[in-house]
């Protein structure tokens, strides 16, 4: 294993193998001696991730510091590789040629004499290249770090146990009072007549009491009229019950029965026969809403 070969891989595969095996021996030496079979060389060259990667390789191979690149020598080596890539008819991305031009430019600027007093670092023609190389290298490093993180489906797996039977109780939707009232407002506006005649002035407790009375009448033949009233509800409660009874009578939902003159009044849910009679008397009683909406 040679530490100076960064692309220890082939194509898209990571850290897997030396770029070639010759006579059973892994080949990781740089191709300077050109003893490598062209096919292996091709694989090696293709593994570079662009000109910065290639330059970094050249620098690291010689244990040079990125901050102090011998530009003339590196440029020479870089161009050698470019030529090699051309010879092997590798598809050479434009970036490689651009970098070659940049290196040539830096080299020529390095050759120009600089006033000794101004040998300041910012004047170093290599500065931009050094910055880019470092920037690229740190992300190249970060990519390697990332690849080493234990990751799902390769190094770790999420533990899974079988849930044989799922009992999913559906969640019921929530309704706010406001939503319901807005819906009511809409429907009432659509049926404006109905609204005017009834809802506006109606006490809803009468409606509630109507439901309660009907329920109370279910399953029993006759209910004592007086027992529908509760003294403890006071005058208001009695009135509500009374209005509710009148409304139920009007709608034909119950009938009041008296066995004899002066006998106690009884109330019962209207029978089909009575309902028909009521319907004959008063059309509105059987279909109040119907008549109200028109």
């Amino acid at each position: 294993m040679n530490a100076t070969v960064p692309p220890a891989e082939t194509g898209p595969q990571q850290h897997e193998m030396p770029f070639a095996i010759v006579d059973g021996e892994p080949v990781t030496e740089p191709p300077k001696d050109l003893y490598i079979p062209p096919q292996a060389l091709k694989v090696f060259l293709e593994a570079f991730e662009g000109p910065l990667d290639l330059l970094l390789y050249l620098i690291r191979r010689q244990n040079l510091d990125v901050l102090d690149i011998p530009i003339a020598e590196i440029t020479r080596q870089y161009l050698e590789y470019i030529d090699l890539m051309r010879e092997l008819e590798l598809e050479l991305a434009g970036e490689y040629l651009l970098m070659a031009a940049m290196l040539a430019e830096i080299k020529s600027r390095m050759l120009l004499p600089r006033p000794a007093s101004e040998a300041a670092e910012e004047d170093d023609p290599r500065a931009e290249l050094v910055r880019r190389l470092q920037e690229y290298e740190r992300f190249k490093r970060a990519a390697e770090d990332l690849d080493r993180l234990p990751r799902l489906e390769r190094d770790v797996w999420a533990g899974k146990a079988e849930l044989v039977e799922r009992h999913v109780a559906p969640l019921l939707p929530d309704v706010t009072l406001k939503e319901m009232l807005l819906a009511f407002k809409d429907v009432i506006q659509r049926a404006a007549m109905f609204a005017h005649h009834h809802v506006q002035r109606e006490r809803l407790s009468v409606r509630q009491r109507m439901s309660q009375i009907i329920e109370a009448l279910q399953g029993s033949e006759l209910v004592d009229f007086a027992r529908l009233f509760r003294v403890e509800e006071g005058r208001m409660g009695v009135t509500v019950t009374f209005v509710a009874l009148l409304e139920l009578l009007r709608e034909g939902l119950l009938e009041v029965v008296q066995a004899d003159t002066y006998a106690p009044l009884h109330v019962r849910a209207s029978t089909p026969r009575a309902a028909v009679a009521a319907a004959n008397d008063d059309v509105a009683a059987t279909a109040p809403a119907d008549s109200e909406t028109r």
Partner: protein, 211 residues
Amino acid sequence: MNDTTVRNVIEAALLAAGRPVSAAELRELFDEFERPAAEAIDAALAELAAGYEGRGVALREVASGWRIEVRAELAQPVSRLWQERPAKYSRALLETLALIAYRQPITRGEIEDIRGVAVNPNIIRTVIERGWVRVIGHREVPGRPELLATTREFLDYFGLKTLDDLPTLAQLKDIETLGVQLEFDAGTSAPEASEVQEPPAADSPSAAAGD
């Protein structure tokens, strides 16, 4: 290879597999030179099973091998992981519910007359199943239609003491100003209910996956 390692590999493999794994297959996981005997695999499985006593999961042998499964007693809470976000009720349902509240006792035909469109029977069924509406009798006309009324639960859900706490239509006309007041009233029930259901929605799996 010691027993603990064998047991750990087996446990890890059963949990990673997501399917039943046979004892033979478990044995194949080990390198040949240190592969435990079939008896050692069986022993490790028995130890694992014992270790799961009184825990949330159990080891069980099914047709194609061994698997670790959630104990049936815990299926109910665990199933909540897949609980779907509740849908919203339709406008038609809300209108129907409001009409039942304001005009009870009322038949479906009467609701249809007011709304001007047919009421889907599912709507009536939904509000009845929810416990907000019930059938309190029948109108004695041909067809004996059911008379619908709201329930005690309806009042409780909306935080009302009686139906009289509902605003009159005149008040409803001013619902924008009423809104302030209503939120105040509704503060007893509706926001409470949404508090329960909103947090899971915020970080529910589907919300997370969808973003």
